[in-house]
Amino acid sequence: MKKILVFLAIITFSISVNAQTNRIKVPNFRVNNFRVNYDVAVPFGNMSNDFINKMSWRGVSIENRWSVKPQISVGFLLGWQVFAQRFDNYTQDLNNGNAAIYGNQIRTINTFPIQGTVHYTFVKNLDILPWVGMGIGTAHSNQVLQVGFYEVQKKFMSFSITPQAGIDLPVNKVTAISFSTRYNFFLHSNQPFNYSFMVFSVGIKNMYF
């Protein structure tokens, strides 16, 4: 009798453990999911050398991903990143040195990427889900340089291409925390410099109810 009780206890326990792991595993999630990310960004290249080299603490993006194959998903990303920096007592040469303006400069970039994405996950049966991906699309940017009463504003569209990688850590059945990094290239032919900046983002990933 005692043996049977022990046997039952072991069976019950193992079933419940099994159920536990399944419950975590199933939702994480190569199934359809959406994400809300908080993004910080570090400018690189000519963008950093010529305009703003200060890190941006203001960024947000939303994403949607639909799984098309067990390890492949496609989706979209809408983002917003704000860069801003002051340059006090700065002399800016204009018009090939024929003109110059001096003053306290404020430079701002608001940029809005709109991208289609494709992602690949390396694993099928782990709770922790690492992935790599690529985003391709456009970006709308609003670049403002302000000195005194003067302001130069440029609005333009760019081609955007963004390799990215991240890892999703499950929290419960439907939610995961996502840590990821994206390298944004925003290319625009008619502007003096292209944008390139590294985004570090932490986000909440949720599956559809």
């Binding site: 704000v82 303006i101 404020i106 302000q146 949720n206």
Partner: protein, 215 residues
């Protein structure tokens, strides 16, 4: 599930607070509106020509104010302004011709003018669907009538230094070509000393950022 949707609501709310401004940095201080602009107005003029050595400084500062303005007091001693232009020209390596009868021989004619202008704007509160204010998000105007209107003034000022090509002077009754000018502009705000210091500093800066003027 409910907790999660609350969490998402919280995140959205925090995001709205965090991202409510597209322009996180804005001019804050009066000095943030100060700027000095210089430009070569005749790109073909040879500033390095060794024959250019002398200048004549017009002895009066031209005061430009809005038409109909009765109060033209600029609160700045204009002699200090002329003295500062003179010392900068001397420092740049030019020799002053102070006799007005000989002004015709000068290579550069230097003109100094100051300007003050009033920029009025109105702000509406309330009313039926009015636009809510100057330079930003306002109150969409829904709830009371008649609208409250307040008018404010931003008073701005500028100092302008011009170099004219003195060699073109003998051609009488013709416009003397300007070869270089500098404009220092800012808010007309602050104490007398503050206004004077900013004005004189702007004159210095015009010459600092135009190294091609130095002999």
């Amino acid at each position: 599930m409910k907790e999660l949707s609350n969490l998402l609501k919280g995140i959205t709310f925090a995001a709205i607070l965090l991202f409510s401004s597209c322009f996180p940095l804005e001019p804050e201080f009066v000095s943030d509106f100060d700027a000095v602009f210089t430009e070569i107005s005749d790109p073909d003029f040879d500033f390095n020509n060794p024959a250019i050595n002398t200048y004549y400084l017009a002895d009066t500062v031209i005061v430009l104010t809005d038409p109909g303005t009765s109060n033209t007091d600029l609160e700045i001693d204009l002699r200090l302004v002329l003295d500062r232009v003179r010392s900068n020209m001397n420092q740049a390596g030019y020799t002053e011709i102070s006799d007005s009868n000989l002004a015709i021989q000068a290579d550069y004619l230097v003109l100094v003018s100051v300007n003050r202008s009033d920029n009025y704007f109105s702000t509406w509160w309330g009313g039926w669907g009015g636009w809510g204010g100057w330079g930003g998000w306002g109150w969409g105007g829904c709830c009371f009538f008649p609208p409250q209107v307040s008018t404010s003034n931003i008073r701005t000022a500028a100092i302008i230094v011009e170099l004219l090509d003195g060699k073109a002077l003998p051609q009488q009754n013709e416009v003397i070509p300007e070869v270089w000018y500098g404009v220092g502009s800012g808010l007309f705000r602050g104490s007398n000393t503050n206004l004077t210091n900013r004005t004189l500093g702007a004159i210095d800066q015009m010459f600092v950022q135009s190294p091609y003027l130095t002999r």
